[in-house]
């Protein structure tokens, strides 16, 4: 077991290293932070020495060979230093600090939405498979296809508009945007933050549930036709009990893979949610980092998503092993 884990960790480290290196090399060779810093139409030219010093300090000097910069960056990486932010603001904050501020914000959003969405999706998928061709099944299927085919911003707008309509009628409603209110403190702040979490979570959960209910329906239909379920019924279990005791776990085995990767995928999926609800999360950060030609920031986000994806893969295998004794 220890051998298995150490091999796995080693391959993961290599994979993450390769992914991040590619990201850095691509970003460093394609992005032009100097243009962002000193646009060609700048009113007053910056002295050459100042510009060089400025870019050297940030390890983004295009006059330094690419592999020299890559080596500098790698040296920092080994020491746990991801470099500093670049772009229009000149504050030179360590990328690690920025990420550590933003990751919890994203996690709060994504984990809750994905967990709720998956649970709802599994339940809806199972019920629609068992009650196949009923009105409930037909409407759930229609609704989930509508949701899956709608662009995420549309779903967000619909949820926001419903909230607005309720607020207009009753005077009560959830905060429209912004996850935090700097004017509030203590309990009030907690209440506000919880309320602010509701709408984004609804959006993420609904979208996740829509697709997971589809997967779950298919795996459950497979299970419904299986011999072991018939055996369970022949033992004297009622339809529902046989499904809960024998069918559910078998249907969940293929879902383990989807579920774990859902967490990885949700970080990219939460991009629109972060943008449209004005959350300062990782998704929003990577958009601005790319638009400001922030090489170090982009590479760091790639590293972060790489680690997350591999953790998800491990979680998927772990779930698989937990659910299915055949592969232990």
């Amino acid at each position: 077991m220890a051998r298995f884990i150490s091999i796995r960790v080693l391959t993961y480290v290599i994979l993450v290293f390769l992914a991040t290196s590619f990201a850095y090399l691509l970003a460093a060779s394609l992005m032009h932070p100097e243009d962002v810093l000193y646009p060609p139409a700048a009113p007053k030219p910056v002295p050459e020495a100042t510009a060089q010093a400025y870019m050297n300090a940030r390890n983004i000097n295009p006059d330094v060979p690419l592999f020299q910069r890559y080596a500098n960056w790698l040296g920092g990486l080994v020491r746990g230093d991801f470099g500093v932010t670049t772009g229009t603001n000149k504050e030179m904050r360590p990328v690690l600090t920025v990420l550590s501020e933003r990751i919890p914000i994203s996690l709060r959003l994504v984990v809750l939405g994905t967990v709720i969405g998956t649970v709802v999706g599994v339940v809806v998928g199972m019920v629609t498979a068992v009650r196949r061709r009923s009105i409930g099944d037909r409407s759930a299927t229609l609704l989930s296809f509508v949701l899956v085919s709608l662009p995420t911003p549309v779903v967000i707008l619909v949820v926001q508009q419903i909230n607005q309509a309720i607020q207009n009628r009753t005077g009560y409603g959830l905060p429209a945007i912004n996850p935090v209110n700097p004017l509030l403190h203590g309990w009030d702040a907690f209440v506000y933050e919880s309320k602010a979490l509701v709408m984004p979570t609804i959006v993420l959960a609904v979208l996740a549930a829509a697709s997971y209910s589809r997967y779950m329906k298919v795996t459950t239909l497979d299970v419904l036709g299986s011999d072991y379920l018939r055996t369970a019924r022949a033992k004297g279990l009622t339809r529902g009990k046989a499904m809960n005791r024998h069918g559910l776990r078998m249907a969940l085995i293929p879902m383990g893979q989807y579920f774990a990767f859902a967490i990885g995928a949700a970080f990219t999926g939460s991009l629109f949610v972060e943008l449209m609800f004005n959350w300062q999360g990782v998704g929003r950060y990577v958009i601005s980092a790319i638009s400001m030609a922030d090489i170090n920031g982009t590479a760091a986000v790639v590293l972060y998503t790489g680690v997350l994806t591999l953790l998800s893969a491990t979680l998927a295998d772990f779930l698989q092993g937990l659910l299915d004794p055949r592969i232990r």
Binding site: G236, L237, R249
Partner: protein
């Protein structure tokens, strides 16, 4: 006669499908009395399984049912699913066909057995129920029941899983056990053990049993009464002797006469109708023996053939931890116009052997010669040419024909590869279809329009397409109904004498092989344990394993079948008097 436990009156079941309404069962009526063993016999699509699922109340939702089923005075069609669930597994239990898929893969064997106890006796503690599961496992002859109960279904073999199913079926001492083709998926020696176990379990409990099967041989040794079904209707019902010795209906007679028998050679004493049609097959198959075997040319020679698969471990660095000797030094030869049967149970290496031959390459060790030429030294062109000389008929006629190709194209394909002209191909397709007793106009039809037997005839025609010297038949009839099988075997026997082709007939079924083969080789664990002319192997088997195999084959004659014994259920263990190794622990639980 005691009261009937189950009475079925005018049962009809229909399903609405895309192709319209399908009648699965029509006007079926029968009764089963306490302690009685009834066999429901029929070929595929006769409605035998559907009728038993109706008794269990387990028909799919779309089924349209009419008639009445009374189980111990209760009308089951008026009962709710909850009420029925109280009966299922307690008063009435079922053993299903495919033991490989009938157990939930993710739960331990012991838990699955104790579940059936706990469902109907919730007052039994979990601990007691698992002790009961271990007793039941011991009763059905699972060695080391305490350890085995902790294992998962995938760690059990097919036969052992079917024992587990029987353990679950008898756990609550039911009044009625329904066994739906319980041994179809099992090897013949395992089949004999499972049937004997089922019989003794039934006798111990005094339960009524319904055995659903297509296999007349199994019926003869098991049933008191037989009910024959065809095309969703009852054909004939009667005592087992009456059905086997004096069948009234023509269909029953046809069904029985198509059953292959291993005791065919020593017949005349048996009054059973079974196997009479197969006698003619045997006559056809052996009629042309004019030239002695030694003077005929050798078509295929296999000498000291080995095939060893390494068992590896590790994902990144593969290490060899052992080896599986799939074929372990076998030798045999086939002469012109001869049918040699390679017989053995699953996993004995028969398929590996024929794959080695069909590869036409140098084997790992040993030599394969076709027409005297070693396959090792062939050039690419020679190998392609040889493909027309050695052809293969597959086991599953449904899967081995491309559903999107008309029959004519399927037959032309091997000829096209060998560069036949269009004119010649058309002539040959017509001739081939006639030869396998199909009509030439069938050439434009697609495989789905044919029945299983007809498709297997197409498979044979394809194998014949380029005048082969040797046809390898890989279980060619095991997927077919018995009456259809008889027809295909008769065709094969006829082709052999008319065209002078040789066969390598690979099969697990000794009784099928008896009628068609000239020589038999019995294979076990990669080795040939016995080899010789057919009548010699059957009448005077030398090897222990051959005797075991022959004893296990069911005989479709009730009198003969009853004289044979087998493993019996461990009634002591069933009563709870376990002879387990840990008596002290056992005692404390019981006290």
């Amino acid at each position: 006669m005691s009261e009937p436990i189950l009475s079925v009156k005018d049962l009809s079941v229909a399903f609405d499908t895309e192709a319209g309404r399908v009648q699965a069962v029509q006007d079926l009526s029968y009764q089963v009395r306490r302690g009685e063993a009834l066999a429901i016999v029929g070929e595929s699509g006769s409605g035998k399984s559907v009728s038993s699922l109706a008794v269990m109340g387990l028909l799919p939702k779309g089924a349209q049912i009419s008639g009445d089923i009374e189980l111990m005075g209760k009308k089951i069609f008026t009962m709710s699913d909850r009420q029925l669930s109280d009966l299922r597994g307690d008063t009435i239990s079922m053993v299903f066909q495919d033991p490989l898929s009938a157990l939930t893969p993710v739960y331990r064997i012991g838990d699955q057995i104790s579940e059936v106890v706990r469902i109907h006796h919730p007052e039994v503690s979990k601990q007691k129920a698992s002790e009961r599961a271990i007793e039941l496992l011991e009763a059905v002859g699972i060695p080391e029941p305490r350890r085995r109960a902790q294992q998962y279904p995938h760690e059990f073999s097919g036969g052992m899983r079917q024992r587990v199913m029987i353990a679950m079926a008898i756990a609550n001492e039911p009044e009625l056990i329904i066994a739906d083709e319980p041994t179809t998926a099992l090897d013949v020696t395992i089949q004999a053990q499972v049937m004997a176990l089922l019989k003794s379990a039934q006798e111990m409990l005094g339960a009524a049993t319904i055995l659903i099967t297509h296999d007349m041989g199994v019926v003869a040794g098991f049933a008191d009464r037989v009910l024959v079904m065809k095309d969703s209707r009852l054909v004939e019902t009667g005592d087992v002797e009456q059905i086997f010795y004096e069948p009234r209906e023509q269909y029953t007679r046809d069904l029985l006469s198509a059953v292959p028998r291993i005791d065919q050679g020593a017949d005349s004493e048996s009054r059973s109708v079974a196997g009479s049609a197969m006698r003619t097959v045997a006559e056809v198959a052996t009629s042309d023996d004019t030239t002695p075997r030694e003077q005929r040319p050798t078509v295929l020679e296999v000498e000291d053939l080995h095939r060893v698969y390494p068992i590896t471990k590790g994902a990144v660095v593969r290490r060899k931890v052992g080896e599986q000797r799939a074929v372990d030094g076998i030798s045999f030869d086939i002469r012109e116009g001869e049918c040699m049967a390679l017989v053995g149970e699953s996993g004995c290496g028969k398929t590996t052997t024929l794959m080695e031959i069909m590869q036409l390459r140098t084997p790992q060790q040993g030599e394969i010669r076709i027409d005297g030429r070693p396959t090792g030294g062939l050039s690419r062109a020679e190998r392609a040419k040889l493909r027309s000389e050695v052809t293969l008929v597959f086991q599953d006629p449904m899967a081995s024909l491309d559903p999107r190709m008309p029959i004519g194209d399927i037959l032309k394909e091997p000829m096209r590869v060998q560069g036949y002209s269009a004119q010649r191909m058309n002539e040959r397709v017509e001739w081939l279809l006639k030869t396998v007793e199909l009509r030439p106009e069938h050439a434009s039809r697609y495989p789905t329009e044919f029945s299983g037997g007809q498709r297997q005839r197409v498979g044979v025609a394809r194998a014949l397409a380029c005048d082969p010297k040797l046809i390898i038949l890989d279980e060619p009839t095991s997927a077919l109904d018995v009456t259809v099988q008889a027809g295909v075997l008769a065709l094969l026997a006829d082709l052999k004498t008319r065209l002078g082709v040789s066969y390598l007939f690979v099969s697990h079924d000794l009784s099928v092989v008896r009628h068609i083969s000239d020589r038999i080789s019995v294979m076990r664990k990669g080795r040939i344990v016995e080899s010789g002319p057919t009548h010699q192997v059957f009448e005077n088997p030398q090897h222990e394993y051959t005797k075991e195999l022959l004893d296990a084959v069911p005989i479709p004659d009730p009198k003969v079948a009853r004289t044979r014994g087998g493993t019996v259920i461990d009634a002591e263990a069933f009563q709870g008097n376990s002879h387990d190794e840990t008596p002290s622990e056992q005692g404390s639980v019981r006290a």
